[in-house]
């Protein structure tokens, strides 16, 4: 391409530019740019990733500044030292790419990347990617090799964060209803539809709303929760939809919850608590995707996903006039119902074991399971406070239990007032204790 002229007919500017350029010299390879005599070490020093130059025996010849910082060694102090003692890579002992090439008899092989870890001089394990490139002479004999080391710490941290984000959060369950819910959760999260969550208090509506946000494409944006607690309508208007700025410092514009949730998710924790006037504004917002802040005239474009919840029967709320029917139909695009604990059957055992493990770890106690009598009491109880209450019971029990098994005496007194039948050979009791014992051994 160098020295090529544009044909006549191009714009004047282009022609002027091209004709004013001096003709390029013929390409003659590295020698023309004197790269064959370049100070390679100085060039490598400036690169933004770690580079080590190794001799044929894989001893250190040179390390650039990035690799010096990564390993903690100065290039001069490790010159001549086998690279495995400097890089200390997980790939050094059994998967060294240059050793593999030497064994294969092909010095030119290599170039593929390996991921692993190194332990630096400061005893820190760092995730890295190694690419080993052989440097050959004209006859194809190995002169040295360039090991390029990239620090993957930031990448791995991001990956871990994304994995956490994509998971279903702290929602757990083994019963068929919960399994179905967890199975469809990613698809619901991926869509941008409004979602209505129903379920009694303590069933996990807030957690489910957060899980929907974390698994959605909006996960990196804000998750804003709104409690439409009783307050003057004008104040709630400002709280939800913001306030337009006026003259003076006292009248500075104030963003509402919807503006704070821009590009993210807004969670209305009890939709029936919202006055009908605000319900009407919410409906307009959902339809028009714009809001006029209090005291303002110009609508503001909003991109917010709305997840609403109610602990009551939404159809009954509509009948009672507490929820606008049009808003109900608008929110009801996707409806997810969380069953109460008393309808979750075998989940009670699972949840007991789940929270026992969590609190035993939190309180650093060796509590392994529940006694048969305790399980009988816990299974007979109907948990009007649902998972929240069950979790609090287990927290209390683990806290007061001095031994390995939670007995009836470690449960809150109100549970013990109605003694239940003890099923001595309940397999679930044994399984829970055995699983806890097994996991302890593994730890």
């Amino acid at each position: 391409m160098y020295g090529q002229r544009f044909p006549p007919g191009g714009t004047n500017v282009e022609n002027d530019t091209m004709t004013s350029r001096a003709p390029s010299a013929a390409f003659t390879g590295l020698a023309a740019a004197s790269l064959d005599q370049a100070d390679l070490a100085r060039i490598l020093l400036a690169l933004p990733f770690g580079v080590a130059v190794l001799d044929r025996e894989r001893r250190m010849l040179f390390m650039n500044g990035v690799l010096e910082r990564l390993t903690g060694f100065a290039s001069a102090e490790v010159s001549g030292v086998p690279c495995r003692h400097v890089l200390r890579g997980s790939f050094c002992l059994h998967a060294c790419p240059r050793v593999a090439c030497a064994k294969s008899g092909d010095p030119a092989c290599g170039g593929e990347s390996l991921e692993g870890t190194l332990i630096n001089r400061h005893r820190r394990k760092v995730p890295v990617r190694l690419t080993s490139v052989p440097v050959l002479d004209a006859a194809g004999a190995l002169l040295c090799s360039l090991d390029v080391i990239e620090d993957l710490s930031a990448l791995k941290e991001l990956e871990a964060r994304l994995t956490r984000t994509a998971g279903p959060g702290a929602i757990v369950g083994r019963c068929s209803v919960m399994e179905h819910l967890l199975r469809i959760l990613p698809a619901v999260a991926a869509s941008d539809s409004t979602v209505l969550l129903t379920g009694e208090s303590g069933t996990g509506k807030d957690l489910l709303a957060e899980a929907l946000h974390r698994a959605s494409p909006r996960a990196r944006e804000s998750f804003v929760r709104v409690n439409a607690t009783p307050m003057p309508e004008a104040l709630l208007d400002v709280e939800l939809f913001g306030q337009a700025g006026g003259a003076g410092e006292q009248n500075a514009p104030r963003p509402g919850k919807f503006q704070l949730a821009q590009n993210g998710t807004l969670y209305l924790s009890e939709i029936a608590d919202m006055p009908l006037a605000q319900q009407g504004r919410l409906l307009r917002l959902l339809d028009e995707k714009a809001v006029v802040p209090a005291g303002g005239e110009r609508p503001m474009r909003l991109n917010v996903r709305v997840v609403a919840a109610t602990g009551r029967d939404p159809e009954a709320l509509v009948k009672a006039g507490l929820l606008r029917e049009d808003l109900f139909h608008r929110l009801n695009a996707v409806r997810l119902h969380l069953p109460p604990v008393r309808e979750r059957g075998e989940d009670v055992q699972f949840l007991l074991t789940h929270f026992l493990g969590l609190y035993a770890a939190k309180f650093r106690k060796q509590v392994l399971g529940f006694s048969e009598a305790a399980v009988a009491l816990l299974s007979a109880y109907d948990y009007p406070g649902n998972v929240r209450e069950l979790r609090n019971i287990v927290e209390y029990a683990v806290m007061v239990c001095p031994g390995e098994l939670v007995g009836p005496e470690h449960l809150p007194p109100y549970l013990r007032s109605a003694p239940a039948e003890v099923h001595g050979d309940d397999p679930v009791v044994k399984t829970a204790a055995e699983r806890a014992k097994h996991s302890r051994k593994k730890a």
Binding site: P82, H85, V86, R123
Partner: protein, 116 residues
């Protein structure tokens, strides 16, 4: 009083990494630093936690090894071991230096500088 010294091995060198060592050399020396007994152990697989357990089970007094993570270093120090980590060199030379009282953490015993 006898001292138990454990060196992690990679061939005839001190293993570059504690967590990847699958062989160890256990040397017992008497109060005059004369070698009383030595034993080479091949581990089923490399694992830092299991190696820590072995070190404590065998009541080792001194560990000579290559790079190790801070967590394991502090754990063994807390268990009152002398830990000389970051040692790069031949295992026999590292042992001899230790017995002469000349070995420190981070010592590089390989010849250096020829390639600078």
């Amino acid at each position: 009083m006898a001292t138990k010294i454990l060196l992690t091995l990679y061939r005839d060198e001190v293993a570059p990494r504690f967590d990847l060592a699958s062989e160890v050399l256990l040397v017992i020396v008497d109060a005059d630093n004369r070698e009383v007994r030595r034993q080479e152990l091949v581990l089923a697989h490399a694992n830092a936690d299991e190696l820590c357990d072995l070190i404590l089970d065998r009541e080792v007094d001194v560990l000579i090894t290559g790079g190790m993570e801070e967590e394991h270093y502090h754990y063994l120090r807390w268990k009152r071991l002398t830990v000389l980590d970051g040692v790069a060199g031949l295992a026999e030379e590292a042992l001899a230096r230790f017995l002469r009282g000349e070995l420190e953490s981070g010592d590089i015993l390989f010849p250096r500088g020829q390639h600078a």
